[in-house]
């Protein structure tokens, strides 16, 4: 099915598919499917593995720059070999399992976590022809695959035979469950407007430009912008990133459910976190930022996977930037934020998107009305809810600081 469209595309665009076909073309017919899948898995593992490695480096470097220090710069040129040095260190460290711990679950937890956080990549369309599994229910699959991370966190906390780990795991679970709701609800408007759960079709629905230069990305509609922001906030919390990194707050909770992990198991947790971050960012790109689409028609000659990578990197750098900027929330603030702010806003946004798709036929001056109403539905609840929730809590003043 892909091959039909291939001929019209540029060489660069076709390059990954051509490469795969060159490899699989030598094999007998019945093996091709298996080999193709294997190749895709390997490509994802290799690509995102490398991305993970350099993301850690980038994070350390950027945090360093923001905090006025150089960051790692001894291993290799500009410290470029640092990730590998870290990997070797993690592999060679002693693997400590506490006495009385549930050995099986202690081992299973990081494995399960990494496994399920990799699952999500299967349905992300990295490029025009680059999607590992084309599912009718891709979005549902993505989030179904992500749910098992909670199980892994629980396993880690429980198996450690450490009451602090267990408590931290419970807190982490509470956070994950709370933020899963706005995460899912902020996706629903996209599904509603695009009319499909398939990621490729959602990306296709965002193709084209109005007025010649405004892409039809969902983020450029009132509900889409709100949905994107809500999605990203919930994604920050889902991937345990600052300012929602309570579950593993190193300085307060001695790394929470990760207390009893060391060596490569710890590295696996770390890896899973970055994978989750990448997967959610990729989903955000797919749902709201037009996927692999180019922002301008004139720029379409650049291959689609390059656009996807660029958008993904921008989002990831945003994650790092936020981590360097915002302080950590308190647990009750976190819960309040999720249930009293994000969930109502996502529900309203859903209604907003419904209204948007109902008024799709409006033209002329009615179009202005449509935009005004949608914008008001985004802005007014945001302001009102924000004012209400933050009433009485003025900015703190520090007497001795």
């Amino acid at each position: 099915m892909i091959a039909a469209a291939l001929t019209t595309d540029s060489f660069l665009e076709r390059l990954p598919v051509l490469a795969r076909d060159t490899v699989t073309g030598r094999l007998p017919e019945s093996w091709r499917w298996m080999a193709g899948s294997l190749l895709e898995i390997i490509a994802i593992l290799a690509g995102f593995g490398l991305l993970f490695a350099y993301l850690t480096l980038a994070e350390r470097k950027i945090l360093g720059r923001i905090q006025n220090r150089p960051g790692p710069n001894r291993t290799g040129w500009f410290g470029l070999l640092q990730p590998f040095a870290d990997g070797v260190k993690a592999l060679t460290k002693e693997d400590v399992v506490p006495a009385g711990a549930d050995r099986v679950l202690h081992f299973l937890a990081p494995v399960v976590l990494v496994a399920v956080s990799l699952l999500g990549f299967a349905v992300l369309p990295f490029g025009r022809h680059l999607v590992a599994v084309e599912l009718d229910t891709a979005v549902l699959y993505f989030f179904a695959a992500g749910t098992a991370t909670e199980l892994a966190v629980f396993m880690a906390g429980w198996a450690s035979h450490n009451k602090y780990s267990l408590l931290a795991a419970m807190r982490a679970l509470a956070q994950l469950i709370s933020y899963e709701l706005p995460l899912l609800l902020s996706v629903v408007p996209v599904v509603l407007v695009a009319g499909t759960l398939s990621t490729t079709k959602i990306v296709a629905a965002q193709g084209g430009w109005s007025l010649g230069f405004v892409p039809h990305w969902h983020v450029f509609t009132p509900w889409g912008a709100a949905g994107f922001v809500l999605f990203m906030v919930a994604a920050l919390a889902e991937s345990n990133r600052s300012p929602f990194d309570l579950p593993e707050a190193e300085s307060e909770l001695i790394a929470g459910h990760l207390t009893e992990y060391s060596g490569f198991k710890y590295a696996l947790f770390f890896m899973a976190e970055y994978f989750g971050m990448c997967a959610l960012s990729g989903m955000a790109v797919t749902l709201f930022l037009g996927g692999w689409g180019a922002p301008l028609a004139q720029l379409e000659w650049i291959p689609s996977y390059a656009w996807f990578t660029a958008k993904l990197l921008v989002l990831l750098l945003g994650f790092i930037w936020i981590r360097a900027t915002l302080p950590r929330l308190r647990l009750d603030q976190l819960m309040k934020f999720a249930w009293k702010f994000l969930v109502p806003l996502t529900l309203l946004n859903l209604a907003n998107a419904a209204g948007w798709s109902l008024t799709a036929g409006w033209t002329g001056p009615l179009q202005l009305v449509r935009w005004a109403v949608a914008l008001a539905l985004v802005a007014v609840p945001f302001v009102v809810l924000g004012r209400t929730l933050s009433a009485g809590s003025a900015p703190r003043t520090y007497r001795f600081a």
Binding site: L135, D136, L151
Partner: protein, 170 residues
């Protein structure tokens, strides 16, 4: 009968049986999660993608969490998680009942003359499913929403402490 189906059956039944036998409550719960995952796999195998992912979302994502929370909320020490082994008399009766039920159902399955089955899988797209839900089954969907709301409120009322204000005073 395919190889995949057999593997799935082994996973489902094996983990469920193991859950029936393990003394550790957490292990039982996690094994049952595996069993549910197996059922989701069965749905996938049968071609019901949407149901499979729904099964994963609801059972693995939500139900297991609720179960684990319930386990941790109703426990005083780690030792208590080692539930007593079943009393022999009750266990025997349970096995007898289980075998009898499966025997009867199995007998019924074999005794029934099935029509020559159409092998082609029915085509159900998500879109079609949604239209069906919102069309023919809209009333049921609404009722389901009411039911879920009622269940949520009921669960909160049941699980909430009886008199929180009294506890504050003491």
């Amino acid at each position: 009968m395919t190889f995949t189906f057999l593997i799935l059956a082994v996973i489902i039944l094996g983990s469920a049986l193991a859950a029936a036998l393990r003394p550790n409550l957490i292990h039982c719960a996690l094994l049952l999660v595996v069993s549910w995952l197996g059922v989701a796999g069965f749905y996938l195998w049968a071609g019901a993608e949407f149901v499979a992912f729904a099964q994963v979302l609801v059972y693995v994502g939500a139900l297991s969490m609720v179960v684990l929370f319930a386990v941790l909320l109703t426990r005083q020490s780690r030792a208590e998680l080692r539930v007593d082994a079943p009393e022999t008399r009750r266990a025997v009766w349970a096995v007898i009942a289980g075998v009898a039920v499966s025997g009867v159902i199995g007998a019924a399955v074999f005794a029934t003359k099935w029509d020559p089955a159409p092998v082609t899988a029915p085509e159900v797209t998500v879109r079609g499913l949604g239209l069906e839900l919102m069309g023919a089954h809209a009333a049921a969907l609404l009722l389901l929403g009411v039911l879920l709301t009622a269940a949520l409120l009921g669960a909160v009322v049941l699980a909430a402490p009886d008199r929180p204000e009294k506890e504050e005073k003491s």
